[in-house]
């Protein structure tokens, strides 16, 4: 594939209007392009990794997102103070807010993403469904518009039949989303979905659609420039979810025929072209057991799981986003895109699998990251840092690449074994269990896989053996001995171990 055409940096300085692992990912792309990076932060994030790694950093405000990362005026003020020419919004926060994209344009800043007009046409799920219908792309039965009241939701649900899915009209990521199995569950689900949508996106409106049982979630990555060129970069299967949030994504999708993949790619390009879309975007589909696909929504931004596509295509999507935003043409055509091998990603989150994946912020007391062939980690954490409770629980993304799916899975299994994370609850153990599951390894997954796996007791083969238990008991005692409080006049050269030994010899 031809390399990017331009050798001069498209901008001198870019402000990254985000936090956590994605802010780190974005500033690394800036550094690769010899562009200065500007971080912004809330009071809860002064010590966050993105602030430490950026070239410049500006405070936005207090910890609540509404007074910091979601405050358009404060973000634009930081851009003015820093002299940045462009803003990358990442995902979440202001990434899919057309008002923010328009405000950037009005302030003379380049928004690295689609135009506010495209965002408005595709960003609201209800508007996108109308556009899909107009372009003959299949959608699921349900409401095209947000429902105004519980009574209206009840009437529509009675018409299309249960089970139904309630979804926030704005935003994604599973927030404001509820599966409703029967009429009795609708009132409380409607209230919770609305409240969650309002809290997360500032817009409490929800719509509902007929739910497909055991569906697969498969999405198409698209990329378009400002000159009308638009390509699709393959698919990602994101069926392994918990609480309606993706936790594992891979490409190519296991068990997807080439004709279906191509038809989905063409549908994704069709709806994007209809919205005059440019920059990176993702078109999400539900695929049923007979490989019929239904349009779900368009994410008008970079996705969390974009590294999966980067590893199979060899492209740097963030660098391409930046070049496209600067007006450069796409340096390749659809026919130039070659996908090679298999990539799979795990979203490592501060959450407790034993407590229904509830978020579990806390200190990163001990961190050992994996390494080796075929591995990439996009992390936002470091040892000694405390994960704040105000934001998303995503800590890090671990991505493995292999010549084929079994090799990619083996490399991920190896990485999950090396990865050590102590001090807070996390889902690494749960990933180890998934990667040991015969159904998952055979590629037989759907959006209910996690729930079915959790309904079974963990297999005994995953439990540590007697020698491990013995060694753990010894290690626990040694760790305690090493953590003895320092002696009043302890010389700096004396280690805790020597102190422990000395204390012992005095007994």
């Amino acid at each position: 594939m031809p390399s990017p055409t331009s050798t001069t940096p498209p901008f001198q300085k870019i402000l990254i209007a985000n936090r956590g692992e994605i802010a780190v990912r974005l500033l690394r792309a800036c550094r690769d392009l010899a562009i200065a990076s500007v971080a912004v932060y809330s009071d809860a994030d002064r010590a966050s990794l993105h602030v430490l790694l950026a070239d410049e950093a500006y405070r936005l405000g207090p910890a609540p997102a509404a007074e910091s990362y979601l405050d358009i005026d404060r973000v634009l003020d930081a851009a003015r103070r820093s002299g940045a020419q462009a803003i990358h919004p990442g995902y979440g926060f202001l990434a899919e807010n057309p008002a923010f994209a328009a405000a950037c344009r009005d302030a003379g800043l380049v928004f690295i993403g689609p135009s506010p007009e495209s965002m408005a046409a595709l960003g609201s799920k209800t508007a996108a469904r109308r556009l899909a219908q107009a372009n003959h792309i299949p959608i699921l039965a349900g409401t095209v518009d947000a429902v105004a009241s519980l009574a209206e939701a009840q009437a529509i649900a009675a018409r299309i039949g249960f089970p139904i899915m309630l979804k926030a009209a704005a935003g994604g990521g599973g927030k404001g989303m509820r599966l409703v199995a029967s009429a009795a569950e609708l009132p409380s689900a409607f209230a919770l979905a609305g409240a969650e949508a309002g809290a997360a996106f500032g817009d409490a409106s929800v719509f509902l659609e007929r739910a497909v049982l055991q569906p697969r979630h498969i999405e198409i990555q698209i990329l378009g420039d400002r000159h009308g060129s638009l390509v699709w970069l393959g698919e990602r299967e994101c069926s392994v979810q918990r609480r309606h949030q993706k936790i594992i994504e891979e490409s190519p999708a296991p068990r997807l025929s080439d004709p279906t993949r191509a038809a989905m790619g063409q549908a994704a390009c069709a709806i994007s072209a209809a919205a005059r879309y440019h920059n990176a975007g993702t078109v999400e589909f539900l695929v049923d057991a007979d490989e019929r696909f239904y349009f779900l929504e368009v994410n008008t931004r970079l996705q969390v799981e974009h590294p999966v596509t980067e590893l199979v295509t060899g492209l740097d999507l963030v660098q391409l986003q930046i070049r496209i935003a600067a007006g450069e043409p796409l340096p390749f055509a659809q026919a130039d895109i070659v996908r090679r091998g298999h990539a799979i990603e795990c979203r490592i989150c501060a959450e407790d699998p034993e407590q229904n994946f509830m978020p579990s912020p806390g200190p990163v007391a001990r961190l050992v990251s994996p390494a080796g062939p075929g591995l990439r980690e996009d992390s936002g954490i470091y040892q000694g840092w405390t994960v704040p409770l105000e934001y998303d629980p995503l800590l890090s993304k671990l991505i493995a690449w292999g010549e084929d799916r079994p090799q990619a899975l083996a490399r991920m299994r190896r990485a999950l074994r090396e990865y050590q994370l102590g001090g807070l609850r996390h889902n690494l153990g749960f990933f180890r269990r998934i990667f040991d599951d015969p159904e998952f390894c055979a590629g037989r997954t759907d959006t209910g896989s996690v729930a079915r796996l959790l309904a079974q007791p963990p297999p005994p083969s995953l439990a540590p053996d007697a020698a491990w238990q013995d060694a753990a008991a010894v290690a626990a005692a040694l760790a305690t001995a090493a953590a003895l409080p320092p002696e009043p006049a302890a010389a700096p050269a004396v280690s805790a171990w020597q102190r422990a030994a000395r204390t012992d010899s005095l007994r």
């Binding site: 229904n356 978020p359 409770l389 050590q420 626990a476």
Partner: protein, 164 residues
């Protein structure tokens, strides 16, 4: 030094002695042939019958240690019988204590003190990291206390409600 190590349901007795910088270990009264090295802060290497175990560890407090090695992790409670660390109180009443499963903010209350509640009924809504979660009653009975108000921040493990 003699320790009692509790991992899961098992309690092990562990004796550590150090002679000229070398540690020897007795586990449950039996000598354990192992080579021990503190390879870096937070990492201990054990060679046990030829197998290499590299434990990463972190201590939240002197009596609780997190340990991870080779794709497994565990929490160990460590007691030093000679130091007589405070015994943890054990609650054995018919009262179910509902504690916060996560640090977060109370969004709203769904029941009042004195109300009769069913097992699984939502008592309050807790929000953390932008997710709202209903905290449900562990059993049927009377809600005898509710130690949280809307808007209040709560820490993991903090008492939220009691059902009798």
């Amino acid at each position: 030094m003699i320790y009692e190590i509790q991992i899961g349901d098992a309690t092990r007795k562990l004796e550590l002695t150090c002679n000229a910088g070398a540690w020897s270990v007795k586990l449950d009264g039996q000598p354990l042939s192992t080579d021990v090295a503190l390879v870096s802060p937070g990492t201990v290497s054990l060679l046990l019958a030829g197998r290499s175990f590299t434990f990463a560890y972190a201590s939240a407090d002197p009596s609780s240690v997190w340990l991870g090695a080779a794709g497994h992790e565990t929490r160990a409670e460590v007691r030093d019988p000679r130091r007589r660390l405070a015994q943890r109180p054990f609650h054995q009443t018919g009262r179910a204590r509902l504690t916060a499963p996560m640090a977060g903010k109370v969004v709203r209350l769904l029941a009042e003190v004195g109300a009769t509640v069913e097992a699984g009924q939502g008592l309050l809504v807790l929000e953390a990291m932008k997710m709202q979660n209903e905290v449900r009653s562990p059993k049927s009975g009377t809600l005898v206390s509710l130690a949280a108000a809307p808007g209040a921040a709560v820490a993991t493990g903090q008492l939220l409600a009691e059902v009798e």
